[in-house]
Symmetry: C2
Subunit: 213 residues, 2 copies
């Protein structure tokens, strides 16, 4: 341990790129997902997002934070128009292609074509899933909360369907991300593959010690 104290002044004085790397690391590991949409003409779009969070199980809701409105935001414009989108796990095998979707392609070009990832369709659902992902979720837009504080948006969607490799689904509903090969992210640009399991724990109660299940 080499204890380091970094003050608000230190953060303000950081060089731009240094600060971006540093602040992006503070929250710990992040989920790695690809968001699939189409525009009103049906042209596909795919974007990597590391801010997907669980919001609630009943109704089944997921949230994600967009980039600021000042930069290209094809994903949110598409999903606001069509009302639907997919969230697809980045798995180990597609990490380079998933990262490449963050390049600023022109609106009329599809990240599917540029990266070689394969769009696939669930009957009756207007947004494409990623065929290479071992878990995909179809969502219907419920709400976009604009965050004035830094011009980003918090997008809330309700789960419409899930497709996954059934070998990862446990008897109690637990989804084994290691079996799925799901990756995660640290900082801005570092990807990690299946982390070793420490273990699952029983529901915590005041009167008992933490116990593994």
């Amino acid at each position: 341990m080499n204890p380091l104290h970094i003050s608000a002044d230190d953060i303000r004085n950081m060089e731009h790129r240094f600060r971006v790397n540093f602040i992006n690391g503070l929250s710990g590991y992040k989920s790695a997902n690809l968001v699939g949409t189409v525009d009103s003409q049906g042209a596909t779009n795919l974007a990597i997002v590391s801010s997907v969070v669980h919001l609630g199980a009943d109704p089944a809701l997921m949230g994600l934070v967009t980039r600021p409105r000042s930069v290209a935001r094809h994903t949110i414009e598409n999903l606001a128009q069509t009302g639907v989108y997919t969230i697809n796990h980045v798995v180990d095998a597609i990490v380079p292609q998933a990262h490449q979707t963050s390049a600023r392609y022109p609106r009329e070009e599809s990240e599917f074509e540029h990266t070689g990832l394969t769009p696939a369709w669930v009957v009756g659902f207007a947004a494409p899933k990623v065929a290479e992902s071992t878990l995909s979720v179809g969502l219907r837009l419920r709400e976009i909360k604009h965050l004035d504080i830094n011009d980003t948006d918090f997008v809330i969607g309700e789960v419409q369907w899930v497709e996954l490799d059934g070998r990862a689904l446990g008897e109690d509903g637990f989804i084994d991300l290691v079996t799925l090969g799901t990756a995660c992210v640290s900082g801005l640009d570092c990807y990690h593959s299946a982390p070793p399991r420490v273990g699952r724990f029983h529901y915590a109660k005041p009167a008992s010690k933490p116990t593994r299940r």
Copy 2:
């Protein structure tokens, strides 16, 4: 691969606990953090949270989703009163204690005492950090966005200070979570230790292929 399609009807018909496990797994890996607060009398509180997300680097903002208002919410009541809180990485060595903070202790009892985790203080800052964590962030509350859709809140805070093991801080600001021993979460109750690095990638550009740095 054993492809499984799960419909909205299937989800509605899931047994309660099964659905909670299942929906909690959809977003992929989640950050594992402990949120430290005090109430207006100075009594400490500590709660594990798996919904901390990066919001922006300038200003340096972090978000987190609370539990519904209908259940005990000492953390958000405390931070709304005092205006400050800490976010502390759950590291491998304290996973059982961190999980145990989710037990429903009475308001007047501190999770620090019950779990054996050690409160530590940054001079002039009213919320306790966790001495066992290798990275702690002090935040000032900026905004609480109530999510009517399921009675939770999205809490936005601005980074006031960071304390970390300096051995994890790279020359470009990258924070090496593997060096920090930071854990992550899958589903409701599964903890994972340092995931193997796939690698870091250069800033993606349309004209170039994804390249490792």
